[in-house]
Amino acid sequence: MSRVWKFGDDVNTDEIIPARHNITVVPEELARHAFCEVRPRFAEEVQPGDILVAGSNFGCGSSREHAPIAIKASGVACVVARSYARIFFRNAINIGLRVVECAQADELGDGHDARVDLASGRIMNRTTGKQFLADPMPPFVLKIVEAGGIVNFLKDHDIEELQ
């Protein structure tokens, strides 16, 4: 099962990982402090494949990449939010964290069991039985995310191959 971890609107980068833990860039260390103040049990209880769900403007604040790195390294399979702060969204794609926008993100409640099919954008809430669609990822972006981030993509490809 993929557990939903539900957050509200305007979750900022300091709530994702406070600046004092940003001294390291080692992903596993950053993951240990993910949401340490707003959801103290998150880092301990999150399981690989879990889904993070949020409201609007997720990731607002700093341009530091520590925030999406911390989420990805904690094993989260995908973030579903009504909307994202711009630089966070970009940083997430570039580091290979799957982030989708969905107007019906509120249909997913904390602790629900859910599945997200990234290629089709289909979100299945197995707890309520409801299905709905996220904005599909453009093929361009999907290529970056599937390679595990733009750095990995560029190891094997030229950037022109993104088009």
Partner: protein, 419 residues
């Protein structure tokens, strides 16, 4: 056929692009500073490809310069070692990155510039498409010369009328952010136009593009005109000719029209930049520190306005008043014209150029319980030091008047040639 951002990106991409599409485009310049260069170096190393064109890389030291501690010094040494090894010579230690980028001529209309700093939007005032990025994006551009950009929808902000005495570009832009909110332009391009914008000199136009970041915007653009080319020719090292790209039959997501003539001075109050009030509602609040500087309002004209209010007067003895010119060029001019003498005789302290006070690194850090009034663009909790301090944002005139009184003061109550 499109908004200003669509027109610029279409030319750059060599095909017509529209809002919502993703375009892969050549980047003219990639900018980073002492804070964001180290992670860009890491990203570039992990890609494992050579730097495509070192002349398109520009590095500034401004966030904590000269280094105030061993950690900052070590980080800067690491960057200098890298620049030497890679023979990257566009390296500046003469002021705030955005001001120096403009002065040195890197910013011209139609260029695409990516910057490892959220206020890279500043260059939009000169008709350049400039976007703030994380460090990985910069490392990618170093290696490939390109970046991917989702073409944003555009909010048109058309400004008309003339401001009253004592009301400045900063007041108008704070009013806009207060109206649309700090999430009001997320992902979007803010396109500023209209008779009021046309009438403004470059230092005032820059305020709009710079603060567009605080509304969440991807870029804040002003179409280049004769003011732009005159400024580039007379105040920068840029070489023409320039492409004066303009919107053509644009389809805006939203159009806002504002008459600026009835506005009073505005203040963005603690704790968020969209908590904007007319200064009359907050006047009288005691202030411990006044800081005039930053990439928003540390230009010569800003210092001139502040000096016109401070001349022949003394700032409140308990209000720490700090003046930080945005670049050494501005500092020189302020010394030559006698502005620094006016500041010092008024009891202000002038610091070296840079971003120190604005990010709570050095040169104006706030103690718990202190309250500051500043000309910068951000009042996040903890931004200037203690998270128990408060930050209020306003124009250089309001900041100077506040310094004199030691409490938030409407600049129109102080007699001066400028107000």
């Amino acid at each position: 056929m499109g908004t200003l951002v669509e027109e610029i990106l279409s030319r750059k991409a060599g095909r017509e692009v529209r809002a919502g599409e993703i375009a892969l485009v050549d980047v003219d310049y990639m900018m980073t500073h002492d804070n964001t260069t180290p992670l860009a170096i890491e990203a570039w190393k992990r890609i494992g490809k050579p730097i495509l064109d070192k002349d398109r890389i520009v590095v500034h030291f401004d966030h904590a310069y000269p280094p105030p501690n061993v950690a900052a010094a070590a980080a800067q040494k690491g960057i200098v070692d890298f620049l030497k090894k890679q023979e990257i010579f566009n390296f500046y230690r003469q002021g705030i990155c955005h001001q120096v980028m403009i002065e040195e001529g890197f910013v011209t209309p139609g260029r695409v510039i990516v910057g490892g700093d959220s206020h890279t939007n500043t260059y939009g005032a000169l008709g350049a498409l400039a976007v703030g990025f994380g460090s990985t994006d910069i490392g990618v551009a170093w290696a490939t010369g390109k970046t991917w950009l989702k073409v944003p929808q555009t909010i048109s902000i058309r400004l008309k009328g003339a401001t009253q005495k004592g009301v400045y570009a900063k007041d108008v832009m704070l009013h806009i952010v207060g109206s649309i909110g700090m999430n009001g332009a997320t992902y979007k391009s803010m396109e500023f136009s209209g008779p009021y914008i046309d009438s403004l000199a470059m230092h005032d136009r820059i305020v709009f593009s710079n603060i567009s970041t605080e509304a969440g915007a991807k870029c804040g653009l002003i179409a280049a005109d004769d003011v732009t080319s005159d400024f580039l020719e007379n105040h920068t090292y840029a070489k023409g000719p320039w492409e004066k790209t303009r919107p053509v039959d644009p389809q805006y997501e939203r159009e806002v029209e504002i008459d600026v003539s009835s506005l009073s001075p505005q203040v963005a109050c603690h704790p968020s930049v969209d908590n904007v009030k007319p200064i009359g509602e907050i006047a009288g609040l005691p202030i411990d520190e006044v800081f005039i500087g930053g990439c928003t309002n540390g230009r010569y004209e800003d210092l001139e306005i502040a000096a016109s209010i401070l001349k022949g007067r003394r700032v409140n003895r308990f209000t720490r008043t700090i003046i930080t010119p945005a670049s050494q060029k501005i500092f020189d001019k302020a010394m030559e014209s006698g502005l620094t003498k006016i500041f010092h005789e008024a009891g202000c302290f002038t610091t070296a150029t840079g971003c120190g006070a604005c990010i709570g690194r050095h040169g104006g850090v706030l103690a718990p319980g202190e309250r500051s009034f500043t000309t910068m663009n951000r009042n996040f909790i903890g931004r200037m030091g203690s998270p128990e301090a408060e930050i209020y944002l306003g124009s250089p005139a309001a900041a100077a008047a506040t310094a004199l009184e030691g409490k938030i003061t409407d600049p129109r109550t102080i007699r001066s040639q400028h107000v």
